[in-house]
Symmetry: C2
Subunit: 455 residues, 2 copies
């Protein structure tokens, strides 16, 4: 293995390769629970496409696995190291190369932080919509790898909709350019979208052409309190069936509301079993809020509070923003699930999660991108209690089984990673898995790229 | 080969298999020029997924190629038969199985005609945006196979954005279900989008879950006349850079305007070198038209005509709708190209096409989905004149070379088919082609599905 390190160092700028075991160990994992990372042989920080090519050529020559990493904010273990691997960190390839308001595209390196890009394009009157909760930390490369979503997807779609073309270093070090920088294009198989969501198992993204939109007007938010998850789910269905296009439609269950109350004393009624937040960035958001408020009341909301300006809107969103922090304080650890169901099944999903919490004797709070049916049940548990830890893991699986039984998917936006590999096989079926493995073999015949993830 | 037909007939409803040579020959090709179709062994009309599975199992057992067909309105030869193949027609699998206003999805069979679906979802207050010009004939299966676009893509995106999940019969007859019917989902590699645009070379689509949108308000249209293509291109850039989101932004060059005038006596000024049509379906379209009209004037428009109601809007769109019919009358044949360039290069593209028309001594009119940079240069030629026919073909290639030199793609929405195979290799490069061939081999190891198309 000494050769590998020597060859790596010889072809890279000074300081790019770190072999110190303690430092390397600090790159072992992302933010997923129940997904131990291995001990990397070295951490390589790339600063250019050529660096990445050198790493992949060397890794292929020596048959050493490579795990690409961004900010490691992922929640499925997709960026976890494996023993003896090279961690390939892309965070220093963080240049925004171009922002073009006529073409409405940005050309970026993979290490650009989502919020940095958002602010940069905002100066041109543009927006890059995908907004994962980790947007102040997560990188565009990681967003592409996982197919990340966020709060505004209900109106503006997910990362896949915004990736027009990619530069990708393949396992053997060759550089591939996919897609286009035009608004449309259908020349050949859609390799671009094959890479989106492939979690670094097919190639290393070193550049991306991203679609942008005109920045929307400021949104206005409405909060509605419901006495049951079913009633809130009914309101979501009524809002969508009526043809509304909210820019955000979020839901917190009673457990989450109480956790936020306990932490921040926000004065939310303890009797609230579901809090729905709807936002509109339309030309007349107040009119949309009034219409949606009426639908909420008809579905059984006990209180409906529309904001009258952006400042009030931000206050109403505070509860949502504090949800994870509040649930984190319930115990010593939490496990965040990511099951997406048809929005018509949201009420059943939330009631089902509450039943699972009862069965396993655990606190499970649910935040949901309700407009998309994308739920994030958060299992709170004491990591020092072996039995509770086992029950947490079992409840996590029970939640995925519930989601599939409701016609949903095991992952709406976090990806499969390590955490959900067995479940992917259940969702995709044997034929789907065989084809995916075939694709993996075409791109990475030696199995060196992020081994053990997804498939 | 007698066995093949006998086995096919044995497993299919009466009348599903037609071997009459003259009838079979009538299924030889789609609407592309310069792309001769072969003589099919038989035409099989499927009415169910089981029918398709039987066809593929039989074809695999006997190593007979299969060419899936929809309405054969394609413009790249992608649906053309090859000698000795089974044509597999999906037009009788034309049921709309479900329209769900809460989930905003439709579940359809592949033979549903685009306009039939559009009208059906319209009754629920919904829209299925992709609107190819052939929408009254073309099928959803064909739209998916080619990744079809249309006029409203500039605001609403192309077919790929609306396909959530697919049922696909593989080459060996196995049934694969991809994707989801939820709003979001990132479980595994994106097989759904790999099938979109694959032109029947990876599997036969037998069902699709399509995303729908709320029906937009009626649009208002503005027409603007320009003394040069460059000025019209400048107006397009100004409109997009200012953050406008037109629901349609179409351009006709002077050649097309004169052809329409000659046919329909629409009274368009003969001095018009480019006619730009912009539409808005926003809450206040008149205000948007006023703003866009001012930008057109600033860019050099000699006349700007905003419609004041939907009826006037339709009148303004007439010129665009008549374009192809008018250009068809110029000679005895036409060849429609589909080059998409960055919208900032539209003026150069149109001027370049005019220069190519001069070089080759041909009439070439250009219609363009200008907001997307997607141009359709229409090469008019006399099919009875061998030299003119040769020049037509050469000019078609020169147009693609021009498009690539401007940073564009050889096909924005029509697909590669037979017509642009050599050009795909030029656009995708050797590494991209190698990977695409690898994917093809995973899905269709015997090479039986629509052989000779795309790759």
């Amino acid at each position: 293995m000494g050769d590998v390190i020597g060859e790596l160092v010889a072809g890279l700028p000074a300081g790019a390769v770190v072999t110190d075991a303690a430092v390397a160990a600090s790159y072992a994992q992302d933010m997923a629970g129940f997904s131990a990372g291995g001990q990397p042989l070295a951490v390589v920080t790339a600063r250019s496409t050529e660096d990445v090519q050198h790493v992949m050529r060397t890794a292929t020559a020596h048959r050493v696995p490579v795990v690409p990493q961004g900010a490691r904010t992922g929640l499925s273990g997709g960026a976890n190291a494996v023993d003896g691997c090279l961690v390939l960190s892309l965070v220093k390839m963080d240049r925004i190369l171009e922002i073009d308001p006529v073409e409405r595209v940005a050309v970026v390196e993979p290490g650009v932080v989502n919020a940095v890009l958002s602010r940069a394009v905002g100066k041109h009157g543009l927006s890059y919509p995908p907004d994962p909760s980790s947007w102040e930390q997560c990188t565009i490369g990681g967003n592409i790898a996982t197919g990340a979503g966020g709060l505004c997807c209900v109106k503006y779609g997910v990362t896949a909709e915004y990736v027009l073309g990619l530069d990708v270093v393949l396992a053997d070090g060759r550089l591939l350019r996919t897609g286009r920088r035009t608004a449309k294009g259908v020349a050949g198989y859609d390799l671009t979208r094959l890479f989106v969501g492939s979690e670094g198992t097919l190639g290393v993204v070193v550049g991306a052409v991203l679609a942008l939109r005109p920045a929307p007007p400021p949104h206005l938010v409405l909060a509605a309190e419901f006495p049951s998850a079913a009633a809130a789910g009914e309101a979501v269905c009524a809002i969508m069936a009526a043809g509304h296009v909210p820019s955000l439609l979020e839901l917190m269950d009673g457990t989450t509301v109480r956790a936020v109350n306990a932490m921040a004393r926000m004065g939310l009624p303890e009797t609230t079993e579901a809090l729905l937040l709807a936002a509109f960035d339309t030309p007349d958001p107040a009119a949309d809020l009034a219409a949606v408020g009426a639908l909420c009341t008809a579905a059984g909301a006990t209180e409906v509070v529309p904001a009258s300006d952006p400042a009030e809107s931000e206050l109403l969103l505070q509860a949502r923003r504090l949800s994870l922090t509040a649930l984190e304080k319930v115990s010593t650890a939490m496990l965040i699930d990511d099951v997406c169901v048809p929005r018509g099944r949201l009420g059943e999903m939330l009631d089902g999660v509450a039943a699972i919490a009862g069965t396993y004797g655990l606190t499970i709070g649910v935040c949901a991108h309700a407009g998309d049916g994308n739920t994030h049940p958060v299992v709170c548990f004491d990591r020092h209690d072996a039995d509770e830890t086992r029950r947490a893991r079992e409840s996590f699986d029970a939640i995925m089984a519930l989601g599939l039984s409701l016609g949903g998917t095991i992952t709406g936006e976090h990806g499969v990673g390590l955490l959900k590999r067995d479940w992917l096989a259940r969702e995709a079926g044997p034929t789907g898995m065989e084809l995916q493995r075939g694709i993996k073999a075409v791109f990475d015949p030696l199995g060196l790229l992020n081994p053990g993830k997804v498939l």
